[in-house]
Structure formats: structure tokens, C-alpha cells
Symmetry: C2
Subunit: 143 residues, 2 copies
């Protein structure tokens, strides 16, 4: 049976998913700690702090037009008393403002800490692997 | 002050670093849980279980010749009672068997759980970002 902590974290991911689909940056960033360290799918190596993460989320969500599909598959939650981590395979589907259709899977790992009884995201790592033969990011893999 | 759990996890990373430098796969894999879920810098999207991880570690370590430099920078540890996660920027430096010099930084996130009083790695996520303009993996970034 899932613990209360795991249930709270899964509820956070549900809320997060709704915020992404609604392209609502404000709702999205409420779940992050101010000092969040983020490794994103695109450069640079890391984003430090919620300000940088917010900018990046804003730019990403603003690059789409119309409905946005967003899905987490195989979400696994390891929750302790005050520290938790989760991983999943995530998919986004939608249309870019330049008309290009995007359909992409990536790997997501999220680290959470409990602050004042509330789980917040202290670390997020999103990535795609690359193909060592070509040096290209693997943007069309499926689970 | 670092907790006892954090100290144990940092010791695990020290031991891990020594195992990589020595290209000792057996010592390396002792720290993983049998069901480890790994997202690696190269394809596929994920590696399930310690068998697959071991194969991949073996192939990676065997691709180098001579001394191997391996370094973790900015290792941050969040340790609870039974669950912990860590992140760092890692560097490898060495010479491939084909003579090519490799010097590369990547992002590493590790999720650990305590089993029978011992911290083991249940999840590992290593990646480089990509350049959205070229679609190429960013293999030459530095922190």
C-alpha cells in the first residue's frame, strides 16, 4: 500500500501535469523550492534557482500553440520521511508556433524534500539520451 | 553538520569513484539494487536491472585505455531516514582504445534507498543536454 507521503507526491505530479497541459507557469512553479537545481533536456548543463527554471518553463510552454498533450509513464516514487525521489518517462505532444508537430519522450527524475509539512521539488533532471554513432540527441525514441 | 546517513552516502561515492578509476566493474556494481532503473547518457531510453547496467558499465570502462580520470563536482546529498537523492556534475578524462582523447562533463542524479541498514542505488540518471539549434548532444560543455 502506498504511504501517505507517496500519495501526496503523486497528487503533486497530477497537479503538475494539469498545470503543464494548461500552460500555466504560475501553477507549475509553486511546487519548486527557491534553490532548485535543474538539469534540463537542452543546454546549459544546469539551471540554478527558481528564477531560471521559471524563465525556461515559460519559454518552453510559450513555444507551443493549441492543446498540449503531456503524459507521465511508469512513475515510480520512493518516499521517506523527509526526502523522496521519483522517476518516469514523459511524453509531450503538440504543435509548435512555427507549425511543426512535436511528439517526444524523455526521462525525468525528480528529487523532493518536505518543508513545513509540504513536499517541494529541490531537484529535477530531464534528458534524452544520444546516439554515440552520430552524436545526435535521440528525440524519437519510444518506451 | 552532515548526518550519519549523508556521511555514509558520501563514502559510497568515494568508493564508487575509486572503482571507476580502477575500471573495476565488480566493485562498481556492488552499490546497486538488483532492480535498479538507469537512464544513461546514451541510448536506449532506460536500462532495467543490474544485469543490463553491469553490461553497459563493462563496455564503457573497457572502451578506455590507460589511466582514467573521474571526478564529481558539486555533489549535493539530500538524505532522509530511508530514502536519499544526490546530484553532481561528473567529468571523465581518458584515452579511448582507438586513440581518441575524451574529456567530457555530464549531469548525474542518483536515488538511494536503505536496505538492511545499507544504502544502495535504486536509480541513476546520467545525461548531457542537447543544442536545440543543431539537434546534437552537447559533449563539450564545462561547468
Amino acid at each position: 500500500m502506498a504511504s501517505q507521503d507517496e500519495a501526496e507526491i503523486r497528487a503533486l505530479f497530477d497537479e503538475w501535469t494539469r498545470a503543464v497541459r494548461a500552460r500555466d507557469v504560475d501553477r507549475l512553479v509553486t511546487h519548486y523550492a527557491p534553490g532548485v537545481v535543474s538539469f534540463d533536456v537542452i543546454e546549459p548543463l544546469r539551471y540554478l534557482g527558481i528564477g531560471r527554471l521559471r524563465e525556461r518553463a515559460q519559454a518552453w510552454l510559450a513555444s507551443f500553440e493549441g492543446p498540449l498533450e503531456y503524459e507521465l509513464r511508469d512513475l515510480t516514487v520512493h518516499a521517506g520521511d523527509a526526502v523522496a525521489f521519483c522517476h518516469s518517462l514523459n511524453r509531450v505532444g503538440g504543435t509548435r508556433k512555427d507549425g511543426r508537430a512535436i511528439e517526444m519522450w524523455w526521462r525525468a527524475t525528480v528529487g523532493l524534500v518536505k518543508r513545513d509539512g509540504q513536499w517541494v521539488v529541490a531537484h529535477a533532471h530531464s534528458s534524452v539520451p544520444f546516439d554515440p554513432a552520430s552524436g545526435r540527441a535521440s528525440l524519437d525514441l519510444e518506451p
